[in-house]
């Protein structure tokens, strides 16, 4: 008996959800390039900031002992806010992100700040991770106003359902 061939056509919707974990300068550039590029061609884009990724969405961009309790404030100070995100390698004690930004400007490539502003302009959804906020003693008020909501894993899965997920 001949069996009919079943072809499964996989149609994924145009949705991209990025888990921004590393908080590294170069990986943030990659994450925001993917986010803005996808949003520009009609994707619904979510960025879920977690752990080291929380550093780049703090309201205070400089080095500040943010958090509750001594240890949280200690880590908050060391993390240093958006102005101090390190390169994932060859950081040269913090000189590299500045050198990289200089090189990007010279070659007319978008800088990290320009990519973040573009993501906001393109209505990319920004979310923060509940668990790492608890560990570091940070609240929603400590973040930039564009952070829509604090999410746990279940809600993240709901929001990212049907699309692609990336861990950066």
């Amino acid at each position: 008996m001949r069996h009919p061939t079943i072809r499964i056509i996989h149609m994924s919707i145009k949705k991209l959800s990025i888990i921004s974990f590393s908080g590294d300068f170069d990986k943030l550039v990659a994450a925001f390039t993917l986010a803005t590029g996808s949003a520009a061609v009609g994707y619904e884009v979510n960025i879920f900031f977690t752990f080291w990724g929380l550093n780049v969405i703090k309201k205070r961009k400089g080095r500040y002992p943010l958090g509750k309790g001594f240890l949280a404030r200690f880590f908050g100070f060391l993390m240093g806010g958006k102005n101090h995100v390190p390169l994932s390698r060859l950081n040269f004690a913090g000189a590299s992100p500045k050198l990289m930004t200089y090189m990007m400007r010279n070659r007319n490539v978008a800088t990290l700040d320009e990519l973040i502003e573009a993501a906001k302009a393109l209505n990319v959804n920004f979310y923060a991770c509940e668990m790492s906020m608890q560990i570091l003693g940070i609240t929603l008020d400590d973040f930039i106003p564009e952070i829509k909501e604090v999410l746990g894993v279940a809600k993240f899965l709901e929001k990212s359902e049907g699309g692609d997920k990336l861990f950066i």
């Binding site: 390039t33 590029g37 520009a40 061609v41 007319n108 978008a110 573009a118 393109l122």
Partner: protein
């Protein structure tokens, strides 16, 4: 009906189509955007994604060397 001009010949990925999308979303219905692009990725992708998102690509003209003009209407 306004026509705005956007020059992205000096931009690189992703700002080529990011800036185009941001300018397109600011237009009112009926307004037009003239985008100056270089050959390669921008010339191939911008008309396609503009059409996919419901905009109308009116014409694509070659200006000089590797520069082209794409006229898009909302």
């Amino acid at each position: 009906m306004m026509t705005k001009i956007l020059d992205i010949t000096k931009e690189h990925c992703p700002m080529t189509f990011v800036k185009t999308k941001i300018e397109l979303s600011k237009l009112q219905t009926g307004d037009k955007l003239e985008v100056f692009v270089t050959e390669g990725e921008p010339l191939e992708n911008i008309p396609k994604s503009a059409t996919e998102q419901g905009y109308t690509v009116l014409e694509i003209t070659h200006i000089e060397r590797d520069i082209h003009k794409i006229l898009i209407r909302k």
